[in-house]
Symmetry: C2
Subunit: 185 residues, 2 copies
DNA sequence: TAATTTACTTATTTACTAGTAGGTTTACAA
DNA sequence: TTGTAAACCTACTAGTAAATAAGTAAATTA
């Protein structure tokens, strides 16, 4: 199954958004590598905000499939997979999609903001449930309120993808391991 | 002592950088409110990168003064002041200067990157020392390696200033308190 | 007092930016 | 075979970006 142009635009847009930021890339940055014209991008996504919306939607879809695939695994492994996923983000010099959108929050149209909010809530809820299950099964150690713990895991990990751009690669691994140590019994 | 135009440009630039991102504001956004011409901004800062450099330097100066003023206080109070400082950032709809620079990292000139790196290392070291002192005095609880703890405090708190743009104000306070609870004996 | 420097302004350039109008090709359906 | 719609392209507009050149008024220095 060949990837459609529309799909390619979304993927490249996502890449640029998370590597450079929403206001730092242009339609030309998309059309050139794909060897199509600027107007072709506008054909699929009339405005840049429409593209942003599609990217947010795309992430919701991906996360949906991810969480379904993970549903059968136990909390500990789910958490590890989640953290490893962020590790790969960091290695590709990108940042997390949530923080990418957060940075450019005030340049996003309301419907894009709503989409991002829904995606974020999805992730937080998924993490909250994961932690609750981990606690119930005795795999995790109780620290605080589960949502707070979820928020701290999420913010720690995604801040790290940013912070290590400035400091060093080692610091990411350090934080990642510390999250695991903190939670695991 | 009246604030010089140069100083005003830096302050407004900092504000815009942290509210909208480096690539989302223009020289016009600075010249208009200050009621000067675009070229006047270029007089003080020939290129936008020069402005970015000055903003990074400015933060180093501020942090220097801050840490000197805090030197006599005890670790617990220093940490609280630090967290409250970030709370005020969050309330003003800005993000932390480190994450603002991190987001636009790849659009920064090498000398700006170096300046930001130095500032970040300053903050991490300050936090690391604070934690070490707190441990020595028995005010803090040992969790991990002190640098790791410092990294986690920093990343948790600054990710929160971004995350709460998307979720809710409450979530910031939640994270802030959890950091304190985790460390304090 | 003359020379110089600081802190600007006016006016302009070059290079993009997102976005659009209208024409063309291709594929598929009636 | 004709009609139609999807997926482009060519060519363009209007606006904005950073940056610069040249000039000026006021303050500072020699």
């Amino acid at each position: 199954m060949a990837t459609s142009t529309r799909e390619k635009i979304i993927q490249l847009g996502d890449d640029l958004l998370r590597r450079q930021g929403f206001n730092a890339f242009s339609y030309a940055d998309i059309s050139k590598p794909l060897q199509i014209k600027n107007a072709a991008v506008h054909y699929h996504f009339p405005s840049k905000q429409d593209l942003a919306f599609a990217i947010a939607q795309w992430h919701k879809d991906i996360f949906d499939r991810f969480s379904q695939k993970m549903a059968t695994k136990e909390p500990k492994d789910r958490l590890k997979t989640f953290l490893n996923f962020y590790h790969s983000i960091h290695l590709s010099e990108k940042v997390d999609i949530i923080s990418a959108f957060a940075t450019d929050w005030y340049s996003l149209r309301p419907n894009v903001q709503t989409e991002v909010q829904e995606f974020t809530e999805l992730v937080i809820e998924w993490l909250t449930e994961l932690i609750q299950e981990g606690l119930d099964l005795g795999q995790f150690r109780k620290i605080q309120n589960t949502r707070t713990t979820a928020l701290r895991v999420l913010s720690s990990i995604f801040a790290s993808t940013q912070l290590v751009r400035i400091t060093s690669d080692q610091d990411f691994t350090r934080v990642k391991n510390s999250i695991l140590e903190e939670l695991l019994n």
